[in-house]
C-alpha cells in the first residue's frame, strides 16, 4: 500500500510538469510581453525596461544550449522557461495586473466564499441524485421511474445561464424570496441567507444530469451476472440493491464525482458572478474581462493541483472499494 502510494505521488510529477509546460506555452509564449499593458500610458521607456527586467521578460524564452557548451551555467539558467517553472512550483505567482494585489492573497481570500457555495451545492446535489437514482432502479419501469426519467431529461435541456437569470429575476427580484445578490463582509451565519438561492439553482441545474447518469450506472449493474446469482440464492430486492448493486456501482460513481469537480468551478463561475459572491469564480471572470493573465495562470495551476489531489484520493478509494484492483 505504501509503495503504491509513493509511486502514485511520483506519477503526479510528469503531470505537474505537463501543466506548467501548457501554462508556459499559453501565457508566456503566446500571451507575450505584458509590459506595455501593465506599465500604463505614461511610463517612460526606462521604466518599462525596468519592469521588463523585474518580470523576467528581458530573458530569452527557451534555454540556450550554446551557453551551456560555453560553460556559462548562469546564462543557461537565465530564461523564461526555467523562471516560469521556478515561480510556478513555488506558488509565487506575482501580482494581478489589474489590481496590483498579490495573487496568492487574492486566492486565499476567494477560497472561503467559493467553498461556502460549492460544497453545500455539491453535497446536497449528490445526495439527492443518488437517492433518486436508487429509488428509480429499485422500482424500475414503475410510474415513478418513468416520471423521473422524463423530468430529468427536461431538466438537463434547460440552459444553465437561463435558469440563473430566471431564478434571480423572479425568485429574488419579483417575488422577493431571497436577496438579489450580495455577500456578507464577515463570514458568519448570515452567509446562509445569501448563498441559499445560488445553492438552490446549482442543485437544480445538476439534478437532471446526475439522476440520469446514476440511474444508468445502477441499472447497468443490475444486469450483471452476480445480481442474477444473488437473486437465485434468494436475496431480497433491498439486499440486492444495497448489498450488491450499490457496492459495485461505487466505481463509476467515484469516477463521476471526480469528473464533476472541475465543473463545480465552472458552476460557481456563473453563480458567483450573478450573485456577487467574491469567490474564485468571480475573480476569474474579472480576470478574463481584464485580460489579467497572471491571475488566470495562477488559477489554472492551483485548480489543477486541487484536481490532482482529488484524483489521488479517488485512486486510493478505488483500491479500497474494489478488491479486484491490485496495488502493484
Amino acid at each position: 500500500m505504501l509503495s503504491y502510494f509513493i509511486r502514485r505521488i511520483l506519477y503526479l510529477v510528469p503531470i505537474l510538469i505537463g501543466i506548467a509546460l501548457i501554462t508556459f506555452l499559453l501565457f508566456r509564449v503566446v500571451g507575450g510581453d505584458p509590459v506595455d499593458r501593465v506599465a500604463g500610458r505614461y511610463a517612460t521607456e526606462e521604466q518599462k525596461e525596468e519592469l521588463r527586467v523585474q518580470l523576467g521578460f528581458d530573458r530569452p524564452l527557451w534555454p540556450q544550449p550554446g551557453r551551456l557548451l560555453a560553460g556559462d551555467l548562469d546564462g543557461f539558467a537565465r530564461n523564461q522557461l526555467f523562471g516560469h517553472f521556478a515561480s510556478t512550483f513555488t506558488f509565487r505567482f506575482g501580482r494581478s495586473e489589474q489590481y496590483r494585489r498579490s495573487i496568492s492573497e487574492m486566492i486565499r481570500s476567494g477560497a472561503g466564499p467559493s467553498l461556502s457555495l460549492t460544497v453545500p451545492a455539491f453535497i446536497i446535489g449528490l445526495f439527492l441524485q443518488i437517492t433518486i437514482a436508487m429509488l428509480c432502479a429499485f422500482r424500475r419501469n414503475s410510474r415513478f421511474d418513468r416520471t423521473v426519467v422524463v423530468l430529468s431529461v427536461l431538466g438537463i435541456s434547460v440552459p444553465y445561464l437561463a435558469l440563473i437569470i430566471f431564478g434571480q429575476a423572479y425568485l429574488a427580484g419579483r417575488w422577493g424570496l431571497f436577496p438579489i445578490y450580495g455577500y456578507p463582509e464577515r463570514f458568519g451565519f448570515s452567509v446562509v441567507r445569501y448563498v441559499a438561492l445560488p445553492v438552490l439553482l446549482g442543485v437544480a441545474a445538476g439534478l437532471g444530469a446526475g439522476v440520469r447518469f446514476y440511474r444508468t450506472v445502477i441499472l447497468d449493474e443490475t444486469r450483471a451476472d452476480y445480481v442474477r446469482t444473488a437473486r437465485a440464492k434468494g436475496v431480497g430486492e433491498g439486499g440486492v440493491m444495497f448489498g450488491h448493486v450499490l457496492k459495485n456501482a461505487l466505481i463509476p460513481i467515484i469516477t463521476q464525482v471526480v469528473v464533476v469537480i472541475p465543473f463545480l468551478f465552472l458552476g460557481s463561475l456563473l453563480l458567483e458572478r450573478f450573485f456577487s459572491i467574491p469567490g474564485l469564480g468571480f475573480m476569474l471572470v474579472d480576470a478574463v474581462a481584464g485580460a489579467d493573465w497572471p491571475v488566470i495562470n495562477a488559477l489554472t495551476f492551483v485548480g489543477a493541483v486541487i484536481y490532482l489531489g482529488a484524483l489521488l484520493v479517488t485512486d486510493l478509494l478505488y483500491a479500497l472499494v474494489d478488491p479486484r484492483v491490485t496495488l502493484k
Binding site: 501548457i22 434547460v158 430566471f166 465543473f263 484536481y307
Partner: protein, 303 residues
Amino acid sequence: MTAPEKSRNYWLSAGREVLRRPRAAVSLAVILFYLAVALWGFTGWKTPDWETENFEMAYRPPSRAHPFGTDIYGRDVLAKTVYGTRVAVSVALTASVLALVIGLVLGLLAGYFGGWIDDLITWLFSTLQSIPYILLILAFAFVLQDRTFTLFGAEFRIRGINAVSLALGLTGWVGLCRLIRGEAIKHREREYVLAARALGSSPGRLIVRQILPNVVHLAVITFSLGFVSYIHAEVILSFLGLGVKHVPSWGVMIDDAKLELFRGVWWQLAAATAAIFFISLTLHIFGDAVRDGLDPRLRGERR
C-alpha cells in the same frame, strides 16, 4: 479462418430498432429540422433579416409581424434565433466530431495496447483533464483566436466562432477517452476477446471487430450529450465575451436577457431558451434510443 456467416447487419437492425420507437422518430425529425434551419442559414437564400435596426420598434412584445417580438434595437428576435441555430449547430457539430474521433482512437489505443502507448496517452489526457475545464476552454479559445496556421502549404485563419469550436473539440475528447480506455481494459481480458486472439485475430481486427462494438454505445451517448453540452458551452463562452461577435447567437441572446428580464422583457430569453431546450431534449431522447438500439445486451428489452 471460418467462412463469414451471413447475419443481420448490426447497424441496420440497430437503426430499425431505433426508429420503431415513436419518440425517437419524432426526435430525429426535430433534429433534422434544426439541421435544415442551420443549412438554410448557410445558403443565405431568403433567410430572415436580423440586421435591420428600427429604434421605434424596440422591445415590442410578440405580435403578428414579429412572432418572437423585437430586441433593444428593434431587430426581429425570430430572425436572430434562426441565425443563432446556424452558429450553434456548426459549433456543436465541429466540436463533437473532433472530440469523438480523438477520444475514441486514443482511448482504444491506450486501453488495448497498454505499455508506453497507454502511458503517453494517459499523460496527455491527465494533464489536460487536471486543468479545470472552463479555464482550459478559455485558454484555448484565447490562443486560437485570430491565428493563422500553415497546414500542407495552405493557410488557415481561425476566426471567432471557429476558435470556439476548435477549443471545445480539442478539450472535449478527454472524458470519452478516459471512459473508452477503462472499458477497453475491461474488455481486453474478457473471454471472447481472448478467444478471438487465440484464433489469430490481429490487434487492429480485435479492436475494431471485438472491442469497438462493446464500447461504441458509450461513444454514441457521449456524442449526443457532448453535442448538447457544446451548445450550452457556447452560451457560457458568449457570456464571458469569447463567443461570436457582431452576429446573433443563442448565448448572446440569453446574455442580453439578464438586464431585460428586470424590465419585463422576457421574449428574447424565452426564444433562445426554447431553441436550446428543444434541441437538447430531442438529442437526449434520440441518444437514449440509439443507445438502446446499439447495445446488444438491451436488444428486445422494452424500456
